[in-house]
Structure formats: C-alpha cells, structure tokens
C-alpha cells in the first residue's frame, strides 16, 4: 500500500510544538481509541524543497533575486544580530517511509541495567519508572516504529554564513565577508554542472515513545 499523500505527513507533524498552546492530558476512552483505523500502518513519500529544483540546484525561475534566499537565526541576548545563512537552497526526498506500531522487547536486552548516564544527583535512575530496573514497563510497550526502505535523497547548499545587523538583518546582505559555506550532494566523477542530491540509506527500525 503506497500512499503518496503529503497532506498526511502534514497531519502527522501538525502537532509539533510551534504554537505554545496548552493542552491538559485527558485520558481517551476505550471507545474513542477503538474508533481509530489505519490498522495496517501507513506509508508516505515526503518531499521538501526550499528555493530549489528537484535535483537540488537553485531554482533559475525564482522571481526573487538569488541574494534573498536567506535564513536568519537570532539568539537570546543578541538584539538585531542575525546569524544568516545566505543563498541557501536544497531538497530532501523520503520515499517509502513506513510508520506503524510495534511492541518493544518482552524482557531485558544485553544492554539493560546500566543507568549511570541517566542518574540524577541522588543517584536515582532518571528513566524510572518506564526505563528503570529490568522488568519495568519499558518492555512490552507499544511504540511508534519508523522504517525507510528506499534511500533518501538530500541536497543542500549554503553559500556562506555571516552576521547581519538590524531588525531586518535576516533579509539583507550588507557585510563584506563571505564566510565558509557547505554543500551536500553527489559527486559527479569530475564532470561539470551535474549537481544532484546525495543518496543515503537508513536501514533498520527506529522506535519512538514518550515517557
């Protein structure tokens, strides 16, 4: 089953913490939970492009000047100072991302029990009670599982990084410097003008749950 449906992806990520709204946690009733369908899991293709064509090169048909492909980051205590990524563009393309629910290990793995990384100042295992001693509720726990069967394609260009000033510093280029940039792509065996996205395989299963 292959659903090429970006809207579903947007739905999945719609609850990302971007708004700062407050929701109290209410228990769902069994009836509500049982109404949820999608018992086979879902499969997604994801495509994200910023200022770029599908091959990851900067879009030639941009109606805005090339110099305005900018992203500004301003940190606490840095009024009117923007760490600006200049002339940046790229694509990320994820094919056949499978999302379903699995059940975690039924008992301790070979790596259980060493909680020193997770101790608080009193020496308590901070993963308690979900992740604490063997036999805790970390086992037989339902978790969201992600699998990626095809390589993902990633292209990214940041021509330079520098500081810009002023309330609209994120959208301007007044500085004289051109500080080092980065690029992610696929080598072309020495041929010219053949920039294309890098190909990355991520095999295996990524399990996610909250505690």
């Amino acid at each position: 089953m292959m659903i090429r449906f970006l809207a579903v992806a947007m739905l999945v990520f719609a609850s990302l913490p971007t708004t700062g709204r407050l929701f109290a946690m209410d228990a769902m009733s069994e009836a509500d939970l049982a109404d949820v369908a999608a018992q086979q899991g879902i499969a997604l293709d994801l495509y994200l492009g910023i200022n770029a064509d599908s091959d990851g090169s900067g879009r030639p048909d941009m109606t805005v000047p090339e110099g305005l492909r900018r992203l500004g980051l301003r940190f606490e205590g840095r009024t009117d100072e923007w760490l600006t990524l200049k002339n940046y563009y790229g694509v990320i393309e994820v094919s056949n991302l499978f999302i379903d629910v699995a059940v975690s290990s039924s008992g301790p793995t070979a790596h259980a029990g060493d909680g020193s990384q997770f101790e608080d100042s009193n020496g308590n295992d901070l993963r308690d009670p979900l992740l604490g001693s063997p036999g805790g509720s970390v086992y037989n726990l339902p978790l969201v599982q992600f699998q990626l069967s095809d390589p993902l394609r990633l292209a990214l260009t940041i021509e330079s990084i520098g500081i810009e000033y002023g309330p609209q510093g994120y959208a301007q280029d007044n500085s004289l410097v051109n500080i080092v940039g980065v690029k992610v792509g696929q080598g072309s065996d020495g041929a010219l003008n053949t920039f294309q996205p890098a190909s990355i395989r991520m095999e295996g299963r990524i399990g996610v749950f909250g505690f």
Binding site: P17, F23, L33, Q39, H111, F118, D189, F195
Partner: protein, 463 residues
C-alpha cells in the same frame, strides 16, 4: 514555556500512538492508567538492525574562497564522502569496501552489516527537558557564582551500552583549483589528496578506574545540552576587565568515545585516483590508533558554555566561544575540584590534583585521552594489539634504527680525546636494528587532566 512544550510533545506522542498500528499488532485501547503514566518528560529513540550509509559518492563539502589579495595562500576545498555507521568488525556478518567489493580485514573495511542493537529499548537515545536540582552534595552555579536552584536543560543522552559500531568516511582535500569544485575548472594546477578514516569497535561511552579501583569505575556517556547561558558580569580582579556577557543561547556537553581508528591514503593498483572518483583503498596500510578511550568536556552547566557572538568590527564575522572560567571562588573550586575550607589555607585538602582519592567531580570537569591498554610493556616493535602503529604494504616496509649516533661513541667518550673534545665523533652509517618490518608500534598514550578553560574561534573571512 517548557511545561507547555512538554505537554505538546506528550500530546504528539499520544497522537502518533493512536495514528497507526501494524497488522501484526492490532490496536488495543490503552487504559487511563497507562496514559497517565506518560509524564511528558521526553522522547525515547531505539535503533534496531540499524545502518546509516551515505552513497560512497555522496559528500558533505566545505566550500572555499579565493584567498585575500596579497596572500600567498591558495584556495582550498574539502569534501567528506560516504559517511556511514554500521556494525563493528567483531559483530558484522559481511564487510565491503567503498567500491562495492567484499572486504576481509575488519578495521580495513569501511562498511559492515546492520547493527543489531544500536540503541536498545532499555538503553536508548533520550531527548528530554530536564530540571537538574542543586542540593547539598552537588550544586550548580551561575557565571556570577550564585547557585542555580533548578538549571533547566534540553538534552540528548546517548546510550551507555550498545552493540559496537563502525563509522567511516573518505575525504578529499583540494588545493589550488580556481572556483573550487563548482567552478569552470580551466585551471589544471591543482592538487588533491584522498584519504580514508575508519573507526571500529566504537562505543559512545567509556569508563576510567577511579583512584585505581577497577571495581567501581566511573562511567561516561555522551551528552549534549542546550540551555540559557545566564548573564555573566564583568570581572576585573586580577587580569583586568573581562566584558560581561548578556544571557544567551548556550550549548555544552560531554563527548565520550572508545574504539579503534585507522587512517590510510594508499590506493590499490588500478584505482583511479581522480578528483570526485570513488577510490579503491588497500585494506591494511596506514596509521592505527588502537584501544582509544576519550572523554572531552565542553562547558559546565551553567557557568561555562559554548556561545555565539559577533566581532567588534561588525563586518559579518562571528565567534564561537567556550566562555572563560570566571574568577569566582565558588566556580574555580568546583571546576578544579577544590573543597573550600577543608585544608591548610582554607583551600587545599580536597584538591582534585592528587594521586589518590580524587573526588568524583574531578572527572566531570577534566577529560582524558588514552590509546592502548596502558600496559606499556606488551606492545613490542611490531605489535598490533593496541597503541599507535603504522603498517606498510611496500616490500621491505620499515627499518628501525637505534638512536645512537655512532657505533663507537661509548669508546670515544671514554677516551681522553673524547672526554675533552666538544666536537662529537664523525657520524657513521648505523645498520638498522630491525629491517623489513611491515609494522612499527610507537607505544601508547595516556593524557589526563584535559580541561578547556577558554576557547574562542573567530572567523576572519573575506576582509
């Protein structure tokens, strides 16, 4: 802010749980108790049968620039290709090279099979927001020396036990090509070097025997933390004024890694050795660091942090700084593991710099770097078990010479002529002690007490 964020993260997890269910496990209603057990403290990531492989031709590139006018430097560009994480040689079921051929020499093979438990569900990666709590035995400090009751951090904790990894990449350093990789390439006077780094048997944690006590070693895991670096007042007690720093974004953490490393640049006969062409490296030649244990601390929450700032000229350059250790007794006593008031002069007795009974806090601010099993006698001239060694694939390999200047130096020094003559005897060709060695072991390394008190990197581009 954080409580709101936490609850939304919690809701997101609950939403994901409700969204999808596999065919093998039909959806079961969670009861209210199970739902209520989700506290919203963080997210857990487990990785099973996991492997990350960038295509051997895919790269991360740092793009260079033309050198400033008047400079004799040349333009430089660098790429890292084929970044991969896979199973260590000791557990891998099949290894291969970047060119796709099978490979047999474990640490000479860049790509292994999938890692069964890269992060087990009971020792996972954890992303969480956490309030550490200051209390009698362990206080946390602001840069002005006051105690932070509850320093809040957003942190990523790596597993403290996992199946061993192999990490590798090959790199290309390009010098003197006008326009770099993406230019017109009319210039043919450039040079490049392709090399490969393989890290094998890697663990994202390590340990050290506290006070030579192997029963209770101190264990270190890899941690990264983000938090608000609090306002640091200006100081001028001894070394003149240091500018104050307003509260800003702070980053800190501990890097703890153990494993082996292999660096090589030798390519097989017939390998293209051409720009952007995936090379075929030989499996054994090169330099090895075997049995590495490293712990490096970057910052101490909350009084030392990595922060970003601009430069006074405001020309677009910026700095990345690990802030200075302020001249505040509470802070340097903590940093150097000095117990205030415990010894002569009020400071000395709890000093961290001593051979025995070091306080545990010492290793939380001081890093170390070890190569080898710390048995300096077991390496031998050609040992490959541990330590730093070089391997050659050339016929004849290495020849090891003694450090003596002349065969007859002892006799010459004992002679009357030698005793009063400041001019040394003429050098004579010394025969090598060992010839045709394919391996030369240089020994081991143990560096203790690594601390970074202040680090500042300033970009100086394009001026």
């Amino acid at each position: 802010m954080w409580p709101a964020l936490l609850k939304i993260v919690r809701l997101q997890v609950a939403f994901c749980l409700a969204l999808a269910c596999s065919g093998t496990h039909a959806l079961q209603a969670m009861d209210e108790d199970e739902m209520a057990a989700v506290s919203g403290a963080g997210l857990v990531l487990s990785l099973e049968d996991w492997r990350f492989l960038a295509s051997p031709g895919s790269y991360l590139e740092v793009t260079g620039d033309p050198p400033p006018v008047g400079s004799t430097s040349q333009r430089g560009d660098a790429r890292w290709y084929g970044i991969s994480y896979s199973a260590a040689s000791s557990i891998s079921t099949a290894d291969e090279s970047y060119d796709g051929t099978s490979c047999v020499v474990g640490i000479g093979c860049p790509i292994g099979s999938a890692i069964p438990l890269a992060a087990a569900v009971d020792n996972p990666f954890i992303i969480r927001v956490f309030d550490y709590v200051s209390e009698g035995t362990r206080d946390y400090y602001n840069p002005d020396g006051s105690i932070v009751d509850q320093p809040t951090v957003f942190e990523l904790l790596a597993p403290t036990s996992h199946d061993k990894l192999k990490a590798s990449f090959w790199s290309e350093l390009l010098v003197g090509l006008d326009g770099g990789y993406h230019g017109s390439r009319v210039d043919t006077g450039f040079q490049f070097l392709q090399s490969r780094v393989i890290m094998d048997e890697v663990e994202l944690y390590t340990s050290i025997d506290m006070n030579n006590n192997p029963v209770t070693p101190k264990k270190f895991g890899t941690v990264w933390r983000m938090y608000q670096y609090p306002t640091r007042p200006a100081y001028s007690t001894t070394y003149g004024p240091l500018p104050g720093i307003p509260a800003t974004y702070g980053l800190g953490g501990t890097i703890a890694v153990s494993g082996d490393m292999h660096f090589s640049a030798r390519q097989k006969a017939g390998s293209a050795n051409a720009l952007e062409s995936v090379p075929s490296f030989t499996e054994t030649a090169g330099m090895y660091f075997k049995g590495v244990d490293t712990v490096l601390h970057l910052g101490v929450m909350h009084y030392m942090s990595l922060i970003l700032d601009d430069v006074p000229a405001q020309d677009g350059n910026f700095t990345i700084e690990l802030t200075t250790l302020p001249e505040v007794p509470a802070l340097y006593n903590d940093y150097y593991s000095i117990s205030p008031g415990a010894g002569p002069g009020g400071l000395a007795a709890g000093l961290g710099y001593k051979r025995t009974n070091r306080p545990e806090r010492y290793y939380e601010t001081h890093g170390f770097w070890r190569i080898g099993d710390q048995n300096f006698g077991n390496n031998g001239i050609s040992g490959t078990g541990d330590g730093i060694y070089f391997m050659s694939e050339e016929p004849g390999g290495f020849a090891a010479f003694s450090d003596r200047r002349s065969e007859d130096q002892d006799a010459w020094e004992l002679s009357e002529l030698g005793f009063f003559n400041l001019v040394p005897p003429p050098p004579t060709q010394k025969n090598p002690n060992n010839q045709n060695l394919s391996t030369v072991n240089l020994g081991e390394v143990n560096v203790q007490g690594i601390l970074i008190q202040n680090l500042k990197i300033t970009t100086l581009s394009g001026t």
